[in-house]
């Protein structure tokens, strides 16, 4: 399995080495690379910071204040995660010409990916012990300082974890930037690939992988020490929600604005284009078959990725060690690789080494999805495995239950929520995947994303819009389930989970 996950990297190294080291250096060491680097880095930094702020504040408001309708907001601020970045981009850019280039990219990406920070932070805020805040306050620390030093301190790991995902996703994003006319490493990799220069595309991808490594290292370093869990025994006191008081109205307006911007605009402009755009071809039939293909591929990917994540999660949690931890961390690198690169790697190995076995068939596409979204599945399954104590399985063993039945009857039920969440997250990601799909999709098949893209590229906004709406509809359910999963996480003992994660 490690071999399968390493395929993309092996492909990159091979193609790049084919070009020769000196040639490679020549390809990378250009002023174009510098400008791409500047674009990519400034975008990643700005969006990550914005997502951290918005995600954390939104989570704090929902979890720790007496925000009216908190449970409804909790759903509404998560659902934007179900909207593909290129649809958000399409929605905003068709609204105003202001949304383009760097500022457009910042706006669109922030709105599209802030839930990646919101979800873990909300879970962590709910699970954290409010006692630490009480102590800080009782020692005369001001409210604001307490918020920054204690409350945020407790959520620090969740914030950085979310930021890590945000940064990696931005590195690999393509569709949104193409619509906005913003050049990053990934868009240039696509251009190079299009003009049939795979070695340049691979050289640039290697730079992207190095950027991803920096992000990973930065996140590792920022984890730091310090305990966030309770030491004493006994029960945490119940959370007392902060009264918003006069701030209630402005806060409500802020939530409404966020939801309108992240959810309302993409959906609204899709509906607008259905009525406004020229309708000169029948979309109905292809909408149905595309939805069927999309669901089929995505379900397959969700099954395979979750099945792959399970043993890895058990291994790294039950037998922690530096090597295992490092292996696990490096799987995150695949998130920083554009889907195109993963797809190229797979079709390369299929055509060059496997006599075109499976080339342009559904199983290969599902495999590509599984490799790409494996890290996401791992995150979810791991969170649940970390919470399920191995001692229960051992007790079952001591009572004479064999190993496999013990795993099935004891461990599996305990980690079921994590498995469900992993399934949903991978499904959701696969439904919105575009670039690998374009390469690997079987001839004559189409997914919602490829159809949306084809029409959008042809400026047929009226035909593209229904596909966007169906994508959102299909993806909204898993994103809701996902929200519920993170919602429940702390009640099952997040503190314990965090202890074991350390």
């Amino acid at each position: 399995m490690v071999t399968v996950l390493a395929l993309p990297l092996a492909f990159l190294l091979r193609e790049a080495l084919d070009a020769g080291v000196s040639n490679l250096w020549h390809l990378i060491w250009r002023s174009l690379t510098a400008s791409l680097l500047w674009n990519t880095v400034r975008l990643t930094v700005v969006v990550t910071v914005l997502c951290a702020v918005i995600g954390t504040l939104a989570a704090y408001g929902v979890e720790r204040t007496d925000l009216p309708g908190a449970r409804v907001w909790a759903v509404l601020v998560v659902v934007p995660f179900a909207i593909p970045d290129f649809v958000v981009s399409f929605g905003w850019s068709s609204l105003s010409s202001w949304v383009q280039g760097f500022r457009g990219a910042v706006l669109v990406m922030t709105l599209a990916v802030y839930p990646l920070v919101y979800l873990p932070v909300a879970a962590s805020l709910r699970g954290a012990d409010p006692g630490q805040e009480d102590i800080a306050r009782s020692l005369g620390v001001g409210r604001l300082v307490t918020f920054f030093r204690v409350t945020l301190g407790q959520a620090r790991r969740a914030i950085f974890g979310g930021c890590l995902l945000v940064a990696l996703v931005i590195l690999a994003e393509y569709g949104a930037f193409e619509i906005l006319g913003f050049q990053t490493f990934t868009t240039e990799i696509f251009t190079e690939f299009r003009i049939v220069d795979t070695s340049v595309a691979c050289a640039l991808s290697l730079v992207l992988v190095v950027l991803g490594l920096f992000v990973l290292m930065g996140e590792s370093a920022s984890r730091g020490g310090g305990r966030v869990s309770r030491t004493g025994s006994g029960v945490q006191r119940a959370l007392v929600r902060r009264h918003l008081g006069h701030a209630r109205l402005p806060v409500l307006v802020a939530y409404a604005l966020l939801v309108v911007a992240a959810l309302g605009v993409p959906i609204g402009s899709s509906v607008y284009w259905i009525f406004e755009g020229g309708a000169d071809s029948l979309v109905g039939a292809s909408l149905g078959s595309a939805a069927l293909y999309t669901a089929g591929y995505s379900l397959g990917a969700a099954l395979v990725a979750t099945a792959m994540a399970l043993p890895v999660a058990l291994l790294v949690t039950r037998h922690p060690g530096r090597v295992h931890a490092m292996l696990e961390r490096t799987t995150f690198l695949v998130l920083a690789m554009p889907g195109l690169v993963v797809a190229l790697a797979i079709s390369y190995f299929s055509t060059q080494y496997a006599n075109s076995f499976g080339y342009q068939t559904a199983p290969l596409l599902v495999l590509a999805y599984s490799i790409m979204f494996f890290p996401l599945a791992l995150v979810c399954v791991r969170a649940s495995v970390a919470q399920s104590s191995v001692s229960l399985e051992e007790v079952a063993g001591s009572l004479g239950v064999r190993r496999l039945p013990a795993v099935l009857r004891v461990t599996l039920p305990l980690i079921a929520p994590g498995i469900g969440a992993a399934f949903c997250l991978v499904f959701l990601s696969a439904v919105t995947e575009l670039t690998a799909t374009l390469i690997l999709i079987p001839t004559n098949a189409e997914t919602l994303a490829t159809q949306f893209w084809a029409y959008q590229q042809n400026l047929s906004y009226g035909q593209a819009a229904p596909f966007a709406l169906v994508i959102i509809a299909i993806a909204a359910v898993p994103s809701y389930v996902l929200g519920r999963f993170f919602d429940r996480l702390p009640r099952r003992g997040l503190a314990q989970a965090q202890r074991e994660v350390v």
Binding site: S97, R194, L438
Partner: protein, 360 residues
Amino acid sequence: MSSPARTRVRARYSARLVVRGLVSITAIALVPLSVAACTGGSPSASSGKVTLTLYNGQHVQTTEALVAAFEKATGIDVAVRSDDEDVLDAEIVAEGSRSPADVVFSENSPALEYLQARGLLAPVDRSTLARTPAKFNSPRGNWVGISARVSVLIYNPSLIDKSALPTHVLEVADPRYRGKLAFAPGETDFQPVITSVLRTYGKAEALTWLDGIKTNAESHIYPDNEAISAAVNRGIVAFGVVNQYYWYRMRAEIGAANVHSRIAYFSPRDPGYVLDISGAAVMKSSRHEAAAQRLLGFLVSAKAQEIIAHSISFEYPIVSGVKSAQSETPFDELEPNPIDVAELGTGAQAVDLLRDVQLL
């Protein structure tokens, strides 16, 4: 004790739900997967009936109309794989002799010349080649021209006056257009213009020209001509160089009321005024050569050319006697630079120049 017990019961219950859910979901998933697997691999393997695989870089809807008419006329099924012509080229080269493609249909001649230079194309039937003017076919007879497009300026009258537009392609690089020009370095439609300039003025001047374009378009670099057209139309940038049909197609898609841009031509026979030929070829590796040749023959038939003439791809049919039914400048009134498809080549020189000035 009751609380953990309840948790366990709930956990097992939810586990069962999850497992049951997964099982039924898998069942649902397998249906389209198996369908897809059947249609994906080698389509003709299961039945005796021939299914051609067409790698299509042309406008999807028009190709679908052409393919439907071909299937109806011949009973031969065609599986269509659509993508950008350069992506399809890359796929074909990677696939080598095992390529599933029987026929490749591209937007511009360089995409076909590129495959021809690699020895991947089979000779086209003489009767097919005879249907179109020889200057629009492969010089070696390995692909046939199907339709034509022409490069134009697209501009937004609220940002630039028509009289202020360049009439000569070298003027596009003039400093007075700084910040006004939109440019797509990766767009294959523009490479013929670069090659045309290179052929006319030589490498040194072409490089200076591209450098000027780079400066002028600094803040308006786009992925393709569609994006340029949309940006100019929305008033983000004043003008760009695209092919004529992008503007017409955009007008058909978004409605005349939403069109805020216009098109203009370079002066007659200017190196920027280039006719691009879209063509099709049979792959040497095709296992259905006879059927593939029939598809090519069909594409230059009067019937197919009429479909192109009436399609919303707004390209010019090139078989004599068939004229575009759309309200655009008639084909025989165009006055492009008389550069031919052999001189336009594979586009490799254009890419080298773009790399030299760091646009790629």
